[in-house]
Symmetry: C2
Subunit: 544 residues, 2 copies
Amino acid sequence: MSPSAIDVEAVTDTSGVTLPDPLSAPIKSNDILGRRRKTEKGQWGIAAPSNTVNFRQKSYEHKPKARRWDHYASPEALNRKGNSLKGAVKYLSRPGLISLGGGLPSSTNFPFEELTIKVPAVGHFSEAETRDSGVTITVGKHDLANEKAIFDIGTAFNYGQGSGSAQLLRWITEHTELVHKPKYQDWACTMTIGSTSALDMALRMLSRPGDMMLSEEYTFSAAVETALPLGVRMASVPIDDEGLLPDELDRILCTWDANVRGGRKPHLLYTVPTGQNPTGATQSAPRRRAIYAVCQKHDLFILEDEPYYFLQMQPYTGAHAPDVPPPTSHAAFLDALVPSFLSLDTDGRVMRLDSFSKVIAPGSRVGWITASQQIVKWYQTHADVSTQGPSGASQLLLWKLLDTHWGHAGYLDWLLYLRVEYTARRNVILAACEKYLPRAIVSWRPPMAGMFHWMRVDHTLHPDFPAKSIETIEEEIFLRVIECGALVMRGSYFYADKEAVHGDMFFRATYAAAPAERIDEGIRRFGEALRLEFGLDPNGKNGQ
Amino acid sequence: MSPSAIDVEAVTDTSGVTLPDPLSAPIKSNDILGRRRKTEKGQWGIAAPSNTVNFRQKSYEHKPKARRWDHYASPEALNRKGNSLKGAVKYLSRPGLISLGGGLPSSTNFPFEELTIKVPAVGHFSEAETRDSGVTITVGKHDLANEKAIFDIGTAFNYGQGSGSAQLLRWITEHTELVHKPKYQDWACTMTIGSTSALDMALRMLSRPGDMMLSEEYTFSAAVETALPLGVRMASVPIDDEGLLPDELDRILCTWDANVRGGRKPHLLYTVPTGQNPTGATQSAPRRRAIYAVCQKHDLFILEDEPYYFLQMQPYTGAHAPDVPPPTSHAAFLDALVPSFLSLDTDGRVMRLDSFSKVIAPGSRVGWITASQQIVKWYQTHADVSTQGPSGASQLLLWKLLDTHWGHAGYLDWLLYLRVEYTARRNVILAACEKYLPRAIVSWRPPMAGMFHWMRVDHTLHPDFPAKSIETIEEEIFLRVIECGALVMRGSYFYADKEAVHGDMFFRATYAAAPAERIDEGIRRFGEALRLEFGLDPNGKNGQ
């Protein structure tokens, strides 16, 4: 362990979060330090139960309670009684008790003595800076027993609860409160092994075979593919540049005919409100309020899938205009974010799906949901006998990074860094599109959030239209793009309802993955393929 | 990074497994090194698909093919089409292709530059030895691109396939072949996020609400609690000291009356053949063959849940007799293991559930199944839109430890170490039982595998019997044991079928968790509680 690792441990561990806060400090007003001193030691132990409510900073006593959702619960959810063996842990708090109860292997037999990570120092987040000035943090096997820390290999690598560890759940609950300031009394968080699994579990809790679920007409294909085998089809809602259209949502529900539709009136809305996949659309604050009102009117339960929430970017000013400077305080940064459905939710009708996949790393397989205690309880009870909590290795790495090293303020700095980083990436793809794509046939709106650039290609100008269908032309273009050496996704991959009529053709390109020069070259190849397919001048410039 | 870390990397990485083999070498005959050189580079990339069949060492061409299981598939399994976006990765192998397709974040934005673990050197496995002589292994972010290794942070921490990474899947496939030598052509492995989840997914694939599943009459309670909310009840099969009774299994199936039972004739057998939870029973080789024959007769599909397979122990020789020396070669070690159902399976009617939880660490949340390609394909297709693969952090740690550091031979050494370690633990609890428990009312058989000691307490000698039921007396004893300062589990927690009649009373104690002196004291307290409850002399010795 290097000397710097010791220093970091000494100043940051166990006594609470660090508050380096180089910008400004809405976080301090959260009294996280004051609150944290009240938490019980017992919850840090092996497979100890924890209660997210203990980690909330503010008082919610005077807020309304969430509605109950029994009327939407599946037989599976109603039949869950939880894991009886995990229930027996309540006796473990008895002082001096010797447990020969739980089948938990002794950590003496875990072949990991120490775990060390090298991570960015706050404010020096780039790869190059991390190589030069990264901080080295070491976790021992028995740091908890040795009173060096409240989390260690011996604990994280043993069994845990379906909620995940108290250590990381505390950080997650605080972060959620800081960002979303929930408006009802009994909100809670529980960890997931990622939002794909969380959606699968939500559907098993809240739907029955034959149900339909509302969603944007172009939607995350894995969501459709999660729902279909469960017998749940998507009911597609028209969109515009701001995503889901509330009037259309209302119209669909007001005129729902179960016989025509082949399913009872939907009670679930699946939406990706920010940087939607695949369209990149971000619902404005007024749009969200209007959608929420329609959901109240029809008593919809909202699955708010928000992997891209913190990939909101600076406004697009054009290829040659100066950038808008990023927020200069944490308060300004949080204010610049569009309000979540969770933050608008007075009824407890939202289950928000958060994930570390896009803001830390997908391979962590750690996310969390925020919802009413009833929903969270159903989720945990299921997790205890299926997914269990996330990987202990992942939880330990995240906790070390987020709680003991960066703290909440440092994490907001990181998110602001990502905002600027994604703004730059988005600007690269837009500049490339302006440079290389034939504007006569391709149109787009600059995305304000997320990872995706969504381009409409005017199929009516294709020489084979209408002799060939949109889907056939789309496939030919897709394969031609590959021939030209690039891969973009076909819009039809994202049909919410494959049987609905689709009058437009789209392609999705991501600016999240490749380095700038390859994004530029990839778009050039896409333009080349389009010119070939549409019989345009292969040397044509923008607009031709 | 210490100099020793560099050495270990240099001699062990990427070129293949190490074969330190301090005992003897059945592993060399597997030609793992020779075979490995043939594998394709493409499969090591980000979210690259892999095929477990490529990692098998032997030829299976002349073996029979597995039966098809369509007739047992659930509507959910039959409706699965897989994740279409993951399907698009097939185009990525095209040389020079620039992907703007998949929404995979760039690893430049993963805030982990290096990951270092300190782990035991082969043959020096104890905690004390690891502290002194443990080996330090470092993984970089871009080891793959830099051709330093075939797995790194940049790859493991990104998205992956539902099968898990090719890197760890290769090791798992080789290990499975080495230990179980499958007898049919189209066997395959795929990773799970643990066997709890694997059972949940198996039931969703292979059962329908209203089905019944056969299992030992006392069984893993989480299995019952996984099945019940899905509408699947357990049909309990009588057991003896060797576990499940094949004649009883046959009798139940031959006389099955769907009307009386309230469910169609079962087609699934859930069994924990080795060190069964809670009874500790281990099915002998002849017992397994007899059970398999009954399964063939009634076309049962077997879910072989084997977390404790490598916790098979040395024979128990009594408190004062010398121990039987452990096996002295890898071949002898493997020969000393009771054959798995997988190793007997000629029809492909077994889905074996393996887990790292008991042999490495539960917090890894990594396991795998072995079954026919049809079953494995269903599993992967489901995993792609639910659990996804295991945590990349866990996979990377396991791969570094198992593949690049220990190798197959070193891992067998580790398992032999665990065998000796668990033998010692088991002997501690048996000695304590002999010392402290009133033999007039408590009886047991020495467990040969697993983590559990199962004790029958003669309720007919309890002063309140038959005025009080077995369950009531059991609860009173349970609470009295807690009052005396110990926790053991109630036998009734493990009823496969709560409505069946249970004529005996049991308690389960684990010797896996606590240190020796606390196991001893815990059993002393258990004996004290029993004496109090049964009105025996509180100072009574063994037999009183």
